[in-house]
Homo-oligomer: 421 residues x 2
């Protein structure tokens, strides 16, 4: 396929018309396909069905009575059961004494954390740094709570740390930064060691500035060369910056998406504040579900073995989408996309001014994609070029057709854009 840049007006017209004919053929099939959902497929969930077997009425009551001082069926243990704290600490690469395991949703923990911090801030116009493209629900939390969001570009090593440092170290209204440090949603980027160390060494103008480190894809590798992420906690301790971080994780994309367990890690001083606040709105998490997870996974090795099975299901899906992108758009020199080693997304970047049009053309042709602008604060992609592709949920057949439609739609949008220049 020729580089689009080499085509003259007539060539572009012909290219566009060819793509339009292709799309019309797809449209005629009245399809209903979906590549918008960053959620596990049913066969991934099936791998966790054993969770339902580890605890029943015939189980040794010692499981819920004896090995802690409390009856796990009853109230109490606001920060979760010790074994679940240890399991999540291993996953999060932190000290088990620095972890609280709470309900089923890390998003909920994040929301409550920002809401709680916000009540303590004194400034009138607090700001959060939002590395982009990023996770729409992060930006939703800060927007909902009235916190101004400032974009910072993500590059191959993570957010542009020159800009982050400049903002954090000079502006006392900057109170936080959202991070998905491994297999970023949707960038697929894992922060480099240098990036993690620069985070750990930040000297914020605001003493209550915090890094909101959502390690959502800590063990979600599907490549033979998985990315490695430094422990933010370890680096913060080395940098004598023990209170600067909140680390979040959950098993939502490990066990059951809505029936998992979620955790927060931070310094003892921060955890004490969280626990004191939490005591006003909770009398303890669902500890039986925590126990189920401990019994089912046992330890980090158990989680990794489980995730290796999920990788077998996910890998061909990413490979399929990437193969279609390469075969359909590879020669055009008019788009780029990520080749992640894990996580849930492929990040597609087209020419400026093409994302919304591509997504709309897909919608007309029966393919749902994540809304244009979703990976940006205020739903606003400044260049209108990023599309988040979520390959995990659909089956392989659906995925192949949906990817072809996406490529075809993009060809039209790109040609239109070039013709309009």
């Amino acid at each position: 396929m020729p580089s689009l840049a080499t085509l003259d007006k007539d060539g572009l017209e012909a290219f566009k018309e060819g793509a339009e004919r292709e799309l019309a053929d797809f449209k005629a099939q009245s399809l209903s396909l979906n590549m918008s959902r960053g959620k596990p497929s049913p066969d991934q969930l099936d791998l966790s069905l054993g969770l339902l077997d580890v605890l029943d009425s015939q189980s040794d009551p010692g499981l819920y009575l004896a090995h802690t001082t409390s009856d796990l069926r009853n109230y109490g243990m606001l920060g979760g059961i010790p074994q679940a704290r240890a399991l999540m600490a291993a996953l999060m690469d932190v000290d088990p004494d620095h972890v609280m395991v709470l309900g089923n949703s890390s998003l909920n923990i994040m929301y409550d954390t920002v809401a709680r911090e916000l009540r303590a801030w004194s400034c009138a116009a607090p700001k959060f740094i939002c590395p982009v493209p990023g996770y729409d629900r992060h930006f939703g939390v800060t927007e909902h709570l009235g916190i101004e969001m400032v974009n910072v570009e993500i590059g191959p090593d993570g957010p542009d740390m020159d800009v982050v440092e400049q903002l954090v170290q000079n502006d006392p209204d900057v109170k936080g930064i959202w991070c998905v440090p491994k297999y970023g949603n949707p960038s697929g980027i894992t922060y480099s060691d240098d990036t993690v160390r620069r985070f750990a060494r930040l000297r914020p103008a605001a003493p209550d500035f915090r890094i909101y480190w959502d390690n959502a894809y800590a063990v979600h590798d599907f490549s033979d060369t998985p990315d490695q992420l430094l422990s933010l906690e370890a680096e913060c301790l080395k940098a004598d910056n023990p209170d600067i971080y909140f680390i979040f994780a959950s098993t939502s994309k490990i066990s059951f998406a809505s029936g998992g367990i979620a955790a927060i890690a931070s310094s003892p001083a921060n955890l004490a504040k969280i626990e004191s606040d939490l005591s006003f709105h909770n009398i303890g998490p669902d500890k039986l579900n925590q126990l189920r997870h401990v019994l089912f996974f046992k330890d980090l090795a158990g989680i990794k073995a489980h995730m290796a099975k999920q990788a077998e299901l996910i890998r061909p899906k990413f490979a399929s989408v990437l193969a279609t992108l390469e075969s359909e758009l590879g020669g055009l020199e008019a788009a780029e996309w990520s080749h992640p080693n894990g996580g849930y997304f492929i990040c597609f970047k087209g020419l400026s001014g093409t994302a919304a049009r591509t997504i709309a053309l897909c919608a007309e042709s029966g393919v749902t994609l994540t809304g244009a602008g979703a990976p940006f604060p205020y739903h606003k992609d400044p260049e209108d070029r990023v599309i988040r592709i979520a390959p995990t949920y659909p089956g392989l057949v659906e995925l192949k057709t949906a990817s072809e439609i996406l490529c075809t739609a993009y060809k039209i949008a790109a040609a239109e854009r070039l013709l309009a220049l």
Copy 2:
């Protein structure tokens, strides 16, 4: 036993010294007893072990896949599964379309509800009416969120509605009222039909005033003559006041205290606001645990049959405490206490100025009681006379000794008080 009022100074001194000798004997036993915990006993929890059996890896996948449009193991269904909504609606005496079933904690729902409402209030100094004595954690939520609390006395029919109406209908800063309408914590009182109707007919000065109706003990009867509570929702609809209520309930004291399900009921207009807010901090509750509850209890009749078994365990505990109170303090004419038909508490009212002293004497003698003042806003019992007794958790032997110590301690406190007058 003589009425304390008939004793002269010497008589009171002798009475006090007798009680002091008794208490010294108890103290010598180095006991460690607890009547402070409003939580189910292990044998109550054992009755719910079947919950752990209703769903396992061999269960018909149709249970979690087929009878709804969504995979219950995955994200989604922010308001819970339809069957759980129906179950909780029956428990809460409301329309199933008016219910959302969320996480494991009604306290958490209440906190989030007040916090969300508070963000929308425009007044600078919002107030909540707090019927007293009441639930300490309710008052904790409003205190924590900086809402001023105004005490209103609870009588035999519920809160003093003359005062409630006067406050609600004249003061636009009054934004809410906390209610435990059945077997109140700790009063044991169930609101009369007239009280419920007066609530339903309130015409608040603040259009965003809401009744926070925590029906925590809806099915927690243990008497042959259980109290009956009118449906607040039905009465509000009759009174053309459809948006004035939030009703809360959970299965925390039905199934497992920390592994239950919790719900909120309100008008469609209010629920729409809740759902829109909730979408920023959650991607769906633990629906498998909701399914477990549906499979285990089936319907309201199933819940009631289950609660009848719990009543068998709870009834003798209340009877034991009440018998001790009667035999030890019955003739003194110096204290009164509730004789509830259900719920979790006996409400003890001594002479003014005796509660803190009684509780302190109990603590010295190895009996933990709920802190003095806990059932009041700001932990302040204006007359220092209310003691919350929680009989459900301890065993019968522990309970008998603890009750005797409480009575002995109270005798000392009462005599001291009368001697000081």
